[in-house]
């Protein structure tokens, strides 16, 4: 323990690699112990407290560039003599900050509520010799906690004892990783005897373990129990650790010592990571903001320069009627210059749309509900609806160019059905619960062998068939013993008996259900049971099987767990006759090389044949140990398992020592059914211009045949292969050959098959060449992929020069890397647990839902948000350009054109709601049309609605409209003839109000022109906004406001409206603004219609048909 000793000199516990936990906090009496400090068991998922909410939330909000910008503007307004009052930018900023703060505060309040519930939950802790009820948050590391049946564990506990004699318990980790199977956890024999509080009180034990880490499946530690003055050291692994959040099942109660508490528990560590993905729209939004900032700065600079050019002459600078104040005269010219520049900055600052971010946020937050609400994305069988984990990426769904999909569980059901097997070189097929050799039917005369398997009691067998029978039985036994399947009995049984294993022998087989984390295993065990070798239970360290009605008990000595690198698992058993036997099961590439006997070649052939049919294959082998061998094996395993340092490596070493010289028994083939409508979905994605890549861990033949059956590869496709490349040069050569073939033959479509090994070669040196080939293939299939490689492929595509938008779909833990790497990660709520779903951005129940998610929702969200962004910039250009133009007529004196209240409310009241409602409900094309014509997806690909051209169009449109408002009003009033019937005159505020009125109406109607889907809400907010503007203005101008020190707007609006000319002017200016836009739209629609526009026509016809059909 060198590291531990080293750490004793330091106080901070995280400095050392391990933590020492004294069970029940009984610290050693002798003094060289310095207690380590651990976190308490409070779970804090909330971000804020009542006290720090305001400062912390403000700090976080002002880290956003836009908010910070407006804060600066606000501060500038406070400091210098500005044309507009600080309120004009302070109030919108306050509004935006408040809305965001309310949203975040509400979310945090929910989290607080959940936290309090969790932290206040009652738990039982052993303290000073008795069981004390306390709150969950009071648990300290070292406390002994009692957990009763069906309760969740309040902290990460090392299991000490259960009410069972062997000290085991069952748990489910459904809430952690979604695996619903029962898992057995163990306690070490020395502590498992302490089943009562008094016995625990006498327990002297120390747990040493690693510092907390997020990996749910890793726990390395050891427990030192002092019994009768003698220290016994036992290893602790994940099977001894009960994770917080897991639930105790089938066990009355357990005692455990808390090792990781609160925020240091594995569950808490796992919830911390949140994806920080940003959508392409947000990126272009930021670019646009920068451009606008540029416009703002150049307008301010230009105005400042022009101001000084004008001021050069005294008669303009300071005519007799408008003398400067003393202060103005005395301040230094540099200071004045700077303050002038800042004043212009303040005057024009509204060109940066302040409410853009908050509107986008609300749009995304509210809009994302539609995905969850969609009935078409709801899966009846599993009662799962689509789930949105991040609403930040909604529009990215409309931009996908590459889809990376996992195969098992994503394209397929992950519902395994045992189909065939190969035993000792003979192929069998399962027919009605019987194994029938290949080429024979059940009734054929030569079918005796088949009957042999099923009816072993028949005695007239010759020696040949006897040996064959033996090996068949051994094969079936291997299948039914080498696994981690759990048995659960139905509910009634459980309630009565409590412990199902107490009547393990009396069960009826119908009430028994297998639970397995891997569906393959479950299918195999079930198949073995059908055939006659039934796994009936695991009782402590013995496994029971019924071989053709005869009960056999095997003592389970060791389990060599499955891991994705080894791709196999093994069990070491003691047979009823006392022999030590190893069964191993795994991928053919993981077993065949280590097999020394058996029909290796024939089996390999059969495995390939199975794979060609698209079935998943596993190879089964065994090894008999002599007693001496076993002692060696046992020693190695125990040593590796108790090691504190480099345990994993040492275990791997031990495993590879044990799993060799295998006797090959045979192979199994399990069929995994394709999911519903996979072919249609892939076809739709392809038509939408999305390239689909299938990434799978399966072997090449299986993968290709599944690819063909799911329509990923066509029969007409020219399939290129990049397989089993051993060296760099070879790989490069092959790549070049493929590139040439594509060039020669560019008429037909190409499909590419790559395997993991070749891929890593190709990626290492020939990325460019490889990308070249890939881009020209319409379908790519990568097989034999390790999880890390999946993520790597995604990253490669993501960072290629075109920077395409990628989407990854997967259902298993092995897809998490790729899901997190891709721009959009989609989890399939399948059978392989919740990990993919938890790490995904969106989760759907079936692959087929992807089509609607992308083609309809993605399309909608993209159109909505793109228009939202463009419109925001447009309306702010309209807003502020007249202000800029006005400076040319007021000596660049920074006089505002509009009243402060109008400046303040323009973005937050007069024009905010229509665009929000538009961005929630707009449907450019009918959803059915979008789904039936995937080609429409191409219309919005590559961020086309936010391209620089469209942005320029909207900005120029904004400028043009602003020119019309301003110069229209200018010409109307320019000669300054009266506009009223009584000869009275208007002033500057009336002029500004006229421009503002025209602007509000035009800007609102411009959005109305963009709206293609007018629900009652659109009508309400569009006409409501205009009406609100008029009513508000009448009200605002109708009162002498007691707290304002100027009454500039008093009756200005009423006077404006009392002028007939003003009405005529408003109408003509609005029409002049919108009318060219309408003409442009119509002409483009007729001359260069996009397919979206064409389908709008069919969409309406579709609707008309539907309504007429009803």
């Amino acid at each position: 323990m060198p590291s531990l000793k080293f750490s004793w000199g330091f106080d901070p516990p995280h400095q050392s690699d391990t933590r020492t936990v004294y069970v029940a906090n009984r610290f050693p009496q002798h003094g060289h112990y310095i207690p380590q400090r651990f976190a308490d068991n409070r779970i804090i998922s909330s971000k804020y407290t009542v006290w720090n909410f305001v400062p912390k939330n403000l700090f976080e909000q002002f880290r956003r560039i836009a908010n910070f910008y407006f804060l600066i503007i606000f501060l500038v307004q406070l400091m210098i003599d500005t044309p507009t009052s600080p309120v004009t930018s302070g109030l919108p900023l306050f509004f935006v900050i408040t809305v965001t703060a309310i949203k975040q505060g509400y979310e945090d309040w929910l989290r607080h509520k959940a936290d309090n519930e969790v932290n206040g939950a009652p738990v039982f802790v052993v303290r000073s010799g008795c069981l004390v009820q306390t709150r969950s948050k009071n648990i300290r590391v070292g406390d002994i906690v009692r957990v009763a049946k069906d309760e969740t564990f309040p902290a990460d506990l090392a299991l000490l004892s259960s009410d069972r004699v062997d000290g085991t318990c069952h748990i489910t980790t459904a809430s952690l990783d979604g695996e619903t199977n029962l898992k057995t956890h163990f306690s070490v024999p020395e502590t498992s005897v302490c089943q009562s509080v008094s016995q625990l009180e006498a327990l002297q034990a120390v747990v040493e373990c690693h510092q907390p880490e997020a990996d749910l499946y890793r726990f390395v530690g050891r427990i030192t129990v002092t019994q009768h003055g003698e220290e016994i050291v036992r290893p602790l692994g994940p099977e001894n650790l009960l994770l917080r959040g897991a639930r105790l099942k089938n066990t009355k109660e357990i005692f455990g010592v808390a090792v990781y508490t609160g925020m240091e528990s594995k569950m808490a560590l796992n919830y911390k990571c949140k994806s920080q993905k940003r959508s392409a729209v947000e990126k272009s939004m930021n670019t646009f903001l920068l451009i606008y900032l540029g416009i703002l700065l150049s307008e301010a600079v230009l105005s400042t320069i022009l101001k000084y050019a004008w001021q050069a002459e005294d008669k303009w600078d300071e005519p007799f009627y408008n003398q400067k104040t003393e202060q103005e005269k005395n301040s230094s010219s540099i200071l004045k210059f700077i303050s002038d520049f800042l004043a212009f900055l303040v005057l024009y600052n509204f060109i940066i749309p302040i409410s853009l971010y908050v509107t986008v946020e609300m749009q995304k937050f509210l809009g994302s509900f539609f995905i969850g609400w969609d009935l078409d994305l709801y899966h009846e069988e599993s009662d799962q609806k689509a789930q949105v984990n991040t609403s930040d990426l909604n529009e990215e769904l409309g931009q996908v160019e590459y889809v990376f999909t996992d195969k098992t569980g994503t394209l397929t059901e992950n519902e395994m059905r045992f189909q065939e097997c190969s035993i000792n070189g003979v192929k069998y097929r399962e027919v009605n619960g019987k194994l029938v050799p290949e080429g024979l039917t059940e009734d054929s005369p030569d079918g005796s062998t088949a009957h042999l398997v099923t009816m072993p009691h028949v005695n007239h067998v010759n020696s040949f068939t006897a040996s064959r029978f033996l090996i068949e039985v051994l094969f079936l036994q291997a299948v039914s013993l080498c696994h981690t399947v759990q048995i659960s009995y139905d509910q009634a049984d459980c309630l009565v008996g409590g412990d199902p294993f107490s009547h393990a022998n009396g069960f009826s087989s119908s009430s028994m259900e297998y639970y397995a984390s891997s569906p393959d295993e479950k299918a195999l065990v079930e198949a073995a049971k059908r055939i006659g070798v039934a796994f009936t239970g695991r009782n402590g360290e013995t496994m029971e099987i019924k071989t053709f009605g005869k009960c056999e008990k095997y003592k389970l000595l060791h389990v060599l767990e499955f891991d994705p690198n080894r791709r196999r698992m093994s069990v070491i058993l003691q047979t009823p006759s006392g022999g030590k036997l190893l069964f191993t099961k795994g991928a053919e590439s993981a077993i065949l090389p280590f097999s020394s006997s058996g029909e290796i070649e024939k089996t390999r052939l059969h495995v390939d044949e199975f794979a060609l049919k698209g079935m998943r294959t596993l190879v089964v082998a065994c090894r008999h140990f002599s007693p001496e061998e076993y002692i060696d094996v046992d020693k190695r395993l125990t040593a590796a398992r108790t090691a504190l340092q480099q345990r994993e490596e040492r275990l791997q070493e031990a495993f590879s020592h044990i799993e060799r010289d295998l006797q090959l028994l045979g192979a199994t083939a399990v069929e995994d059914k394709l999911q519903d409508k996979v072919q249609e979905t892939i076809e739709a994605l392809r038509l939408a211009g999305i390239k689909v890549w299938v990434l799978t861990g399966d072997k090449h033949e299986t993968a290709v045949s599944v690819s063909l059956s799911c329509g990923h590869f066509h029969r007409t496709m020219n399939i290129l292969e990049l397989l089993q490349q051993r060296s760099d040069n070879e790989c490069a050569e092959q790549l070049r050959r493929l590139a040439r073939r594509i060039k020669d033959d560019h008429v037909i479509q190409h499909g590419l098959v790559v395997d993991g090994a070749s891929l890593s070669l190709a990626l290492r040196e020939h990325e460019k060449l490889f990308m070249e080939v890939c881009k020209n293939c319409s379908a790519v299939l990568c097989c034999r992929m390790a999880p890390l490689q999946k993520a790597k492929v995604v990253r490669l595509l993501k960072t290629s020069p075109e920077k395409p938008i990628t989407l990854a779909v997967g259902d298993g833990a092995n897809d998490v890397g790729m899901i997190q790497e891709a721009h959009v990660g989609i989890g399939i709520m399948g059978k392989e647990g919740r990990q993919a779903v938890r790490n995904s951005d969106y989760a759907i129940a079936r692959f087929k839902f992807l089509a609607k998610l992308l083609l309809v929702h993605g399309h909608f969200y993209y159109i909505r948000i793109a228009t939202l962004v463009q419109y925001f910039f447009y309306k702010n250009v309209c807003f502020i350009t007249p202000q800029f133009l006005y400076q040319f007529f007021c000596l660049f004196s920074q006089q505002t054109l509009y009243d402060s209240v109008y400046l303040t409310l323009y973005n937050i009241c007069f024009t905010s709601l229509p665009i929000l409602v538009y961005s929630l409900f707009e449907q450019l094309v009918h959803p059915h049309v979008l789904q039936s014509k995937p080609g429409l997806y191409r219309d919005i690909s590559r961020n086309s609605l936010l391209s620089f051209r469209t942005f320029l169009y909207w900005t120029l449109l904004g400028f043009c409209h602003a020119f019309v408002f301003f110069f229209g009003s200018y010409i109307l009033m320019g000669e300054d003839t009266t506009l009223m019937g009584n000869g009275q005159m208007f002033g500057n505020w009336t002029f500004g109000t006229l421009v503002f009125t025209v602007m509000v109406v035009t800007v609102t109607l411009k959005l109305a022109l963009e709206t293609h889907f007018w629900t009652w809400m659109n009508h309400f907010v569009t006409w409501g906004s205009i009406a609100f503007y008029f009513i508000f203005s009448l009200f605002y101008g109708g009162i002498i406001w007691p707290f304002l020190h100027t009454q500039d707007m008093y009756f200005v609006f009423v006077q404006l409206l009392s002028s007939g000319s003003a009405w005529f002017a408003i109408i003509i200016m609005v029409i002049t603004c919108l009318f060219p836009d309408v003409v442009k739209k119509v002409i483009y629609r007729h001359m260069l219609p996009t397919s979206t526009q064409k389908s709008q026509v069919t969409g309406t016809r579709f609707k008309a048909l539907k309504t007429s059909g009803r």
Partner: protein, 369 residues
């Protein structure tokens, strides 16, 4: 479609019983509601801008706008307007001496007389404006240089007006009433109009000085401070620097038009939007007799020249104008309506051709896939 989904739900119910799926039977189904709102199926009007739908609108706009435009244009053309510049820039202009000998200190006012002829008689009410050019009433420093509270008769503001009035806030210890640059620069030329009878006699044209300011300004926004009479009310305040007389002597003849509620003052206080502006000065009401308000003939304009504009290249004008319901002479609206209406009509024709040539229906068949 609805029916099928309900069937499926029943099926689901049966399933959950047999499949031991973590008590799916008892848990409430997560199935989303089949409402129009949640399924984004709200009834909606889906307009599409095609030539077919836009065409009628264009023709209608064209057909409505052209007559309106013609109407507006004719109305504007019927308005008579007469404008004369009396600044006195040229040596031969009558006000040249007054303009060039201007001094803030002079106690005697300078007068000049401008003769002009109206070719046509002006009917109905005639409005007399003065116009200033190059006068930036919309300069920021100028616009804000006022205190509306003081002008509203607020006693505290009268004695302690807003700092915005600087540098026209105080003279020594006395506050200026009305304070600020706008008030200080009140236009103080007086204009008198005489009709030259064919006999040669000068006949003064009656000029009404009330009704030139907004009713709300005169009655609500502007109020004199409380006091027995105006001089007491304004006691302790100084007159603006440029003024010759205090605010309570603006119109001693009419107490209802004196002090802050003097209409000339109120009109001036409404700052103009642009550097060239007009302000209503007087109204010449229609005669009860049938003769025109201002018959054609020779007129004499008597100017008391108090207001210097040459220092900033300014110009002063006197304008006489009749008025219609839409205001003064302003051909812009009429021209705009006629132009837009004709363009609409023309484009309507163009679109009609497009509509016939490129029928959308025939195009819709070849959508990819």
């Amino acid at each position: 479609m609805m029916a099928s989904s309900y069937n499926a739900k029943d099926e689901d119910g049966h399933h959950s019983g047999s499949v031991s799926h973590g008590g799916a039977g008892t848990a409430k189904s997560k199935k989303p509601d089949n409402t129009a709102f949640k399924q984004q199926r709200l009834p909606a009007w889906q307009p599409i801008l095609t030539a077919g739908t836009v065409l009628p609108a264009f023709f209608v706009i064209g057909l409505i706008f052209i007559p309106i435009g013609i109407g507006l244009y004719v109305t504007s053309n019927n308005i008579k307007e007469f404008e004369i510049d009396y600044t006195g820039v040229n040596v031969d202009s009558p006000c040249y001496t007054c303009a060039n000998n201007f001094s803030w200190n002079s106690t005697t006012s300078c007068s000049c007389t401008v003769n002009f002829t109206l070719e046509q008689p002006f009917e109905n009410n005639v409005y007399m404006y003065y116009g200033l050019s190059n006068f930036y009433q919309n300069h920021r420093r100028y616009v804000k240089s006022r205190d509306d509270r003081q002008l509203n008769g607020d006693a505290t503001a009268l004695k302690d007006p807003s700092n915005d009035c600087e540098p026209y806030r105080k003279i020594g210890v006395e506050t200026i009433a009305p304070c600020g640059a706008i008030a200080n620069s009140l236009f103080n030329d007086s204009l008198e109009l005489y009709y030259v009878e064919p006999s040669g006699a000068l006949n003064a044209v009656p000029l009404a000085k009330k009704g030139i300011a907004w009713w709300t300004d005169r009655n609500v926004k502007f109020r004199n401070p409380a006091g027995v009479d105006l001089p007491t009310a304004f006691k302790g305040t100084a007159k603006p620097v440029n003024w010759r007389k205090p605010v309570y002597e603006l119109d001693p003849s009419d107490p209802d038009n004196n002090g802050f509620i003097n209409e000339d003052f109120i009109v001036w206080m409404r700052t103009a939007a642009l550097p060239t502006f007009r302000k209503l000065y007087r109204i010449i009401h229609k005669n009860q007799s049938s003769t025109s308000t201002l018959p054609s003939g020779r007129y004499v304009l008597n100017i008391t020249y108090n207001y210097p504009v040459l220092s900033f290249d300014g110009r002063k004008r006197m304008i006489l104008s009749t008025i219609s319901w839409m205001g003064g002479k302003n051909p812009f609206l009429g021209i705009a309506y006629i132009t837009v209406g004709s363009i609409c009509f023309f484009l309507g024709v163009v679109l009609l051709i497009i509509h016939h040539k490129y029928d959308t229906r025939s195009n819709s068949a070849d959508i990819p896939n």
